[in-house]
């Protein structure tokens, strides 16, 4: 089994982040793709860049790897500026979305490629390759060709291939995109465990929020070239910093309201505290709402339809004001779900759990 990075580098004071991204910006012609992004990543952390297509997450990854140059700001590893360092010298390992395995080389040749390029003696290289393959549980696959491997196996070869370099930072570009749903879930857990065992600092890029919530120590939600919020999965989910983050992660219900005197009135009659004044947008998660009989409250509506998501039933309720509110309820065995077109009332379970944002 391979060990994580050991040696002098490990003892550097933990105040120097492994990867320092400082005010990085990048433009393509007139379009600003990255706008003043800053992020520090500590040793052994798994950080995910999360956002929709075009938000700049892949661009940032490519800048860290060295495929593209940033127009402004700096990228440093262990405190050393990477600007003058070309791609093939940076201590990063990239796992591509398509895995980019060399089709004309065997698994062993793929995994040993970096060693060959660096001129490592053959015997030593062979041992390292064997060790890497063992780490990803692919011992015995040395002589197969990529075309003969399944998606999951290809991914593991791609990982082993960069592991032999003992990179300071592991960069993964939507690595689970090519796998089907069931395999995805298993591989995500496995990969996180592997990374943690090896103590590798890693950055994932994805548009899949579930993947981000599963894999990461911290999530950086990006939008239009900016980092909107960086926080752990729980905090991102429970205390989103902006309406955008709230909308992107998990399901959310939004409605407009007026805030005055330190609080804002909720549709069901309760109040939530806020420091904002004037027009605001209120967000409540479906699991923070509860359905009751129509007579019970002032916030009423009719059930449009419901669907099952794992252990929950998600109801879509059309309210009098025209909003569609999603409410989640635990499934109870043998209890029938509320029928379509039934009249219901909605109650906020915990007003403090609502998020309040300035109106856009």
């Amino acid at each position: 089994m391979m060990q994580g990075p050991t040696g002098p580098l490990r003892d550097i004071a933990t105040t120097v982040p492994v990867l320092g991204i400082g005010a990085v910006s990048k433009r393509f012609g007139a379009t600003t793709v990255l706008d003043n992004c800053s992020l520090d990543i500590a040793e052994g952390e798994i950080v995910t860049l999360l956002g929709p297509s075009g938000c700049g997450k892949t661009t940032l990854l490519r800048c860290i790897a060295g495929f593209w140059d940033a127009d402004g700001g700096s990228i440093s590893i262990d405190g050393q500026d990477m600007a003058p360092v070309p791609v093939n010298r940076r201590p990063v390992g990239v796992v591509f979305q398509s895995y980019a395995l060399f089709p004309h080389m065997t698994v062993a040749q793929n995994v040993g490629y970096a060693l060959r390029m660096a001129g490592r003696p053959k015997a030593e290289a062979a041992k390292t390759v064997a060790s890497a393959l063992e780490t990803v549980s692919l011992s015995g696959f040395e002589d197969r060709y990529p075309a003969q491997l399944s998606g999951g196996q290809q991914q593991r070869v791609a990982i082993a291939r960069v592991l032999v370099m003992e990179p300071r930072v592991l960069l993964l570009d939507e690595p689970f995109n090519a796998l089907d749903a069931k395999l995805r879930a298993t591989m995500q857990v496995e990969l996180r465990q592997l990374i943690k065992t090896l103590g590798l600092t890693s950055i994932f890029v994805t548009h899949d929020q579930e993947e981000a919530l599963t894999m990461s120590d911290r999530i950086a939600v990006m939008r239009a070239g900016r980092i909107e919020q960086v926080a752990g999965p729980d905090e991102i989910f429970d205390r989103p910093a902006t309406a955008y983050v709230a909308d992107f992660i998990g399901t959310s219900n939004f409605w407009d309201a007026e805030a005055a005197g330190g609080s804002v009135a909720l549709p069901d009659g309760q109040c939530a505290k806020t420091e904002l004044v004037g027009r605001v947008r209120v967000m409540a998660r479906p699991h923070n709402l509860r359905l009751g009989p129509p007579g019970n409250g002032v916030w009423t509506g009719t059930v449009a339809f419901h669907r099952n998501i794992g252990p929950l039933i998600e109801y879509h309720v059309e309210t009098a004001s025209g909003d569609t509110i999603q409410v989640a309820a635990m499934r109870q065995d043998r209890a029938r779900p509320i029928a379509d077109r039934a009249a219901v009332s909605i109650v906020v379970i915990d007003p403090a759990g609502c998020s309040i944002f300035p109106a856009p």
Binding site: P5, Q80, M82, R89, T128, V164
Partner: protein, 310 residues
């Protein structure tokens, strides 16, 4: 291992390395420079010289140009020479007929390819590509054999008792035409196949599902979509048949003068350089005119290929 597998040299590359990078990586234009130089020297400059020769009066002494003065004399002489007109017109009509016949005979082959199975497709590809790998002379010779006085056609016809005396097919316009069509068929078929294969097979199935007969599908769906292929094939066939040298020479007899044979005669035998230049240039220009015409016609029929308006 304390000495990490990599002692990554996290430093800037040396000058030598950056130079190699710039030259070899293909990011810059450097890898193409040798080709550019060769093309300039062997193609562009000679062509410019050709142009200049056509537009000048030259005096040659001992195989070298002694003087060269600008003159439109050769050009005007050529344009007013009835022989030139006849020759070019003959080349033109030959090329046009060849092109049209190639379209008529080649399109069904492409249709067969489209609707055929795997082995049909393979067979067609083999029969179409193989001729292109043999020389024009070999292919023309075959027709010599077939159309000659004692050739296949005559022998068969006489053998069957249909005629008493051999037909004189060789050394006629017809012999040349037949040879031209057969020789240039592959050049027509291949672009057609390329274009037609690019479209989703399901378009044809959709048409059938919507009630079109096979002929209707061909007429309303397949044909319009294959127009770019017809355009490309026609352009290629026209260019080749307009400038072809071998076929008219061999199948048309020594007196069959067309543009290419005329140029050959002027350049290699009479050593009339300026005339040869003018003829070559006229050949090129007239060829280009027709190609532009083909492109315009094709364009009119392919308005659907234009993308969304920005």
């Amino acid at each position: 291992m304390t000495d990490a597998v990599f002692t990554p040299r996290i430093d800037a590359p040396s000058f030598g390395e950056r130079l190699a990078d710039a030259l070899l990586s293909g990011r810059g234009i450097w890898p193409a420079v040798p080709a550019i130089i060769v093309l300039m020297v062997v193609a562009v400059i000679p062509f410019v010289i050709l142009l200049s020769l056509g537009f000048s009066d030259i005096e040659i002494a001992r195989g070298d140009i002694v003087s060269q003065t600008f003159s439109l004399e050769h050009l005007t002489k050529a344009l007013t020479d009835p022989l030139y007109w006849i020759t070019f017109q003959r080349s033109l009509s030959l090329a046009m007929s060849t092109t049209v016949l190639c379209v008529l005979f080649g399109y069904p082959v492409a249709y067969l390819f489209l609707t055929g199975g795997k082995w049909t497709k393979r067979l067609i590809l083999i029969l179409t590509i193989a001729p292109l790998l043999t020389s024009g002379i070999v292919r023309t010779y075959a027709w010599l054999v077939i159309l000659g006085g004692r050739g296949v056609v005559n022998q068969t016809l006489m053998g069957l008792g249909l005629i008493d005396q051999p037909l004189r097919i060789m050394n006629t316009h017809w012999a040349v035409l037949i040879g031209m069509v057969q020789i240039h068929l592959p050049v027509m078929i291949l672009p057609l196949i390329a274009v037609m294969s690019r479209h989703d097979r399901q378009i044809v199935e959709a048409a059938e599902n919507l009630g079109a007969s096979r002929l209707g599908t061909l007429r309303t769906v397949i044909l319009p979509l294959s127009v770019p292929g017809i355009g490309t094939g026609a352009a290629l066939v026209f260019t080749l048949s307009y400038t072809t040298f071998v076929v008219p020479q061999l199948l048309g007899g020594g007196n069959y003068l067309n543009a290419a044979t005329m140029i050959y005669e002027q350049v290699v035998f009479s050593l009339e350089w300026s005339k040869g230049s003018v003829s070559s240039l006229l050949l090129m220009v007239s060829c280009l005119v027709v190609l532009v015409a083909i492109a315009l016609i094709t364009n009119r029929f392919t308005r659907w290929t234009k993308g969304r308006e920005a």
